[in-house]
Subunit: 280 residues, 2 copies
């Protein structure tokens, strides 16, 4: 398995794969790989001839310098994981390679990025859509894999691919959870034992949403109140949002008609965590 | 020669061309084809196995509704011209096909678009970079052809291709002029005989720039004064800008060191015309 750091070398490798008419599965990551990433990598491995994983901690999608500086970094371990999962290539470019001097082109989105994390993390999704467009253009995947945990991101990227007429199948895979329900996230590494325990209220609130909805309550306000009361019982936690939204437009729904997404963002100490569950 | 109006049909055709490992030359146009377009089409025809021409009057790059409404339209004649030049395919989609409901993704640029036409036509270049990205993703050309008349556009598109890591060779071809020097433009059709005569001052001013520069005067202010005085002698003309800029950054240069671009935008009655000349 080769680790490629230069854009033009990656483009040459991709051209050679395409020339041999092999399909490419692509898993873009920011490193600090965990079981969630591994589930994406395994699906990509199964569904494609060639598997490429990128590891790049993209500074332009961080709205908060502390978050960027404290984001876990473990390149050697990440490469070991990817190699164990039989990837063909790792793309791990430096920032000067992706954003050379004079760089001034951005991919932006409105509407879908006005709510939820987009509202609270200004510039975040423009960073995501720009880097994902660049990586898609370099890797030219047939299929690209994303986790449902970043629900808004999956909607944003599906829309990006449709709006800019990219020929890419965006595959969204289920959230991977620890045994006690906490959604696996690179940022979980920053939680101390007490914070780790407090974080369980996120999944409790989502499970509550599911059971209340199953009992035939469709009123979002009522469900959100139940969710919020669970989170508020927990110490040292700050709610960014508890929302029930349309799965496609991400707009708040007042009464659930068909399918909706219950979605939560909270601060536990200095760590921001997000999670969601589909109600249908 | 087939005229394709659907994005997915165009994508299927392109896939089939790519499968046979044929190169694609692409000339994006807004229709109202003239000798300038024909020179692009002929170069694309020579340099590639397959030639695709798009005809689409893109509303999102017009900052002025009157300009959009009055822009010349002649689809049947355009298709005749393209067929005569032996194109393989014409792509002529409707607006709903390119901007379906819910469309919300845009490609934007700063710096390069802050000056010249970008400053005077807010939103214009975002319309250009967005539609060109979409067309490039649909057509997947090896080479794409643009005219030097829209000098700022050529710089913007080269930067777009580099920044978003598109594998496309952007070819810029010289300005085609009428015998009296007027740069050929679709908007020339809107000039009445008197306006057509007045418009000659544009090329006169650029020729003056060239001769003054050739006489070893490198001071932009001095050259611009000579250019401006020629234009100001003409009746019923309004200057948008007369500038001398760096060929890559498009920033004003005060003293020409090596290469620069003298560039002019004027209103003749209700018609805005642009032109430029390279000083080197």
């Amino acid at each position: 398995m080769d680790v490629i750091t230069k854009v033009n070398e990656m483009q040459t490798r991709v051209l050679s794969i395409k020339d041999r008419k092999k399909s490419i599965g692509f898993v873009p990551t920011m490193g600090a790989l965990h079981e969630g990433h591994v589930s994406l990598i395994r699906s990509a491995r199964k569904e494609n001839n060639k598997l490429i994983v990128s590891i790049y901690l993209n500074p332009t999608q961080f709205d908060n310098e502390d978050d960027f500086n404290n984001y876990p970094r473990q390149m050697d371990k990440d490469i070991e994981i990817v190699e164990r999962e039989n990837a063909d290539l790792v793309f791990a470019p430096g920032t000067k390679e992706l954003y050379p001097e004079g760089f001034c082109t951005y991919v932006t989105q409105d509407k879908l990025t006005d709510s939820l994390c987009g509202r609270l993390r200004p510039g975040h999704f423009n960073g995501v859509t720009t880097i994902v467009t660049k990586l898609f253009n370099i890797i030219k995947p047939d299929r690209a894999y994303f986790g449902q945990k970043d629900y808004q991101q999956t909607v944003v990227i599906k829309r990006l691919v449709a709006d800019l007429n990219m020929d890419i199948d965006v595959r969204v895979l289920p959230i991977v959870r620890d045994e006690d329900g906490l959604a696996i996230s690179s940022r979980n590494k920053r939680l101390n034992p007490e914070e780790r325990q407090n974080a369980l209220c996120i999944y409790s609130s989502l499970s509550k949403a599911k059971s209340v909805f199953a009992s035939n309550i469709k009123d979002s306000k009522e469900i959100i109140e139940e969710m919020t009361s669970i989170i508020k019982k927990t110490k040292n936690i700050k709610i960014d949002y508890v929302s029930i939204v349309d799965p496609n437009t991400l707009e708040n729904v007042s009464s659930i008609n068909g399918k909706a997404v219950a979605t939560v963002a909270v601060w536990i100490g200095n760590t921001r965590l997000i999670d969601n569950i589909i109600l249908e």
